[in-house]
């Protein structure tokens, strides 16, 4: 299919120009970064738009910048830049791994981390690890800046909290606290190019004894219109040492909170089973890593 929608193309060079455009025509525009979602939707005529604002070449919107308190990742940073970042691997391995699991390598050289969350697909790969890593989403408009947690950004299938004049400009991820670790996992039919049946990220923080769980976070994707942050899992884990019995309960708790649908890719029942499997694995893996951290 060719693109029929007759849109105006804008290629601003600075963030200020982008925000100006958004203030003017944000209600009649789509943002183009990697294009791996937008261009397909235009081709398939799932959407039409009067304006396309290409932000891929706005330099100040991309890049991985380490700060005293952690790291800042620009919204237009490509997924492959994250995947290939040797600096990120050590402390933010869950995000790097999630990046490596998104689409194909070609998709990853095009797709951006800001686009991944802004597209707000239920099976997006990066929102869960960003959430597990306690990231903050920075949203800007001409009116100013506001911040939000990744889990509060997505409201539903392709719905998010962005106002028409707003955009995601960067993610701030804090330095991981001592004795903590985050993990990511995903399950699809194939070993690559998958739209995940389920994806999940877990973060475990231990007390100074390196055994007792101080805090825990488990976020699952693809099992509801928006990522689900488990309430049951932290309450099970905090204050305890992990053991096999507890791991089983973690799986059950996660399964009970997931509300997946049946579709062409997997049934709801199977997705729940996989939620259990991933919750057990990732919790165990995060706990073991946290003991070393």
């Amino acid at each position: 299919m060719n693109i029929l929608s007759n849109f105006q193309y804008h290629a601003p060079k600075t963030k200020a120009e982008v925000l100006d455009l958004l203030a003017d025509i944000g209600d009649k525009s789509k943002m183009l970064a990697g294009g791996t979602d937008l261009v397909i939707m235009l081709k398939e005529k799932m959407i039409q738009t009067e304006n396309v604002i290409n932000i891929a070449d706005v330099k100040e919107l991309s890049g991985i910048k380490f700060t005293d308190n952690g790291v800042e990742i620009g919204a237009c940073t490509t997924i492959s830049e994250i995947e290939n970042s040797k600096e990120l691997v050590e402390k933010y391995g869950a995000l790097v791994y999630a990046a490596s699991q998104l689409g194909s390598y070609q998709v990853r050289t095009m797709a951006t981390i800001g686009g991944n969350i802004s597209h707000s697909s239920p099976c997006g790969e990066t929102p869960a690890p960003l959430s597990a890593l306690n990231a903050t989403v920075v949203i800007e408009s001409k009116r100013g800046e506001r911040t939000v947690k990744p889990e509060d950004f997505i409201l539903g299938n392709r719905q998010n909290i962005l106002e028409k004049d707003e955009m995601v400009t960067k993610f701030i991820i804090p330095e991981p606290v001592a004795h903590s670790a985050a993990t990511y996992g995903n399950i699809g039919l194939r070993n690559a190019m998958e739209i995940d049946a389920v994806n999940m990220a877990v973060n475990i923080e231990l007390e100074d004894d390196k055994k007792t769980i101080k805090s825990a976070k488990l976020i699952m994707g693809s099992v509801a219109p928006k990522p689900i942050v488990s309430e049951g899992v932290p309450s099970l884990l905090v204050g305890k040492e992990l053991n096999d019995e507890l791991i089983e309960k973690v799986g059950e708790a996660a399964m009970s909170e997931a509300t997946p649908i049946s579709d062409v890719r997997a049934s709801a029942e199977y997705r729940k089973d996989v939620v259990g499997a991933l919750a057990r694995r990732l919790t165990k893996e995060a706990y073991n890593k946290a003991m070393e951290a």
């Binding site: 105006q8 193309y9 397909i40 081709k43 891929a56 390598y105 070609q106 998709v107 095009m110 070993n191």
Partner: protein, 161 residues
């Protein structure tokens, strides 16, 4: 609205008139006539349309041509040596029987070359990961992976690029 842009493809500038809606793959194939870039699925799933943009393998079927105005694009026609002799990666594909119908071959070679350019010493898994977005239905990928491995070894031994 039509616009005149300059595309740098295989180190040569082409002035083309495009609309913002035109996809890079169509401009390369139809306006410029470099038909080595293939269309297999139109949705970024098969990788046949892969080209290198500023050295990175990208899907020309999901790229608006207008976004490429000041970028360097390499297509399969830009891989062989200037005199028409084959690039070592092309030789490797032929020596290892990595080419059957040939339809995935241009995209496959570009993905593979980009991999070796960024990681001259890849593991087998890294090779498979790098080409996992290039669907081949003829070869089962086995001989393609061997071809890329052998090219990587050649680069390691002789510094061939």
């Amino acid at each position: 609205m039509k616009q005149l842009i300059t595309l740098n493809i295989n180190n040569q500038n082409y002035d083309v008139i495009v609309t913002p809606m035109d996809l890079l793959v169509d401009v390369i194939r139809k306006a410029i006539g470099l038909t080595g870039t293939k269309k297999g699925c139109g949705q970024g799933d098969c990788g046949a349309c892969t080209v290198l943009i500023d050295g990175q393998p990208k899907l020309s079927c999901l790229t608006l041509a207008i976004t490429c105005a000041d970028k360097k694009i390499i297509t399969i026609e830009g891989i062989a040596n200037e005199d028409g002799t084959l690039h070592p990666i092309q030789d490797a594909f032929l020596d290892h029987g990595a080419v059957q119908c040939g339809f995935c071959t241009p995209g496959m070679i570009l993905s593979a070359k980009a991999l070796i350019d960024r990681n001259p010493n890849p593991s087998q898994k890294e090779i498979k990961t790098a080409i996992s977005g290039n669907t081949c239905r003829c070869t089962g990928y086995i001989n393609i992976v061997s071809a890329i491995e052998s090219y990587a070894n050649l680069v390691a031994e002789k510094g061939a690029k």
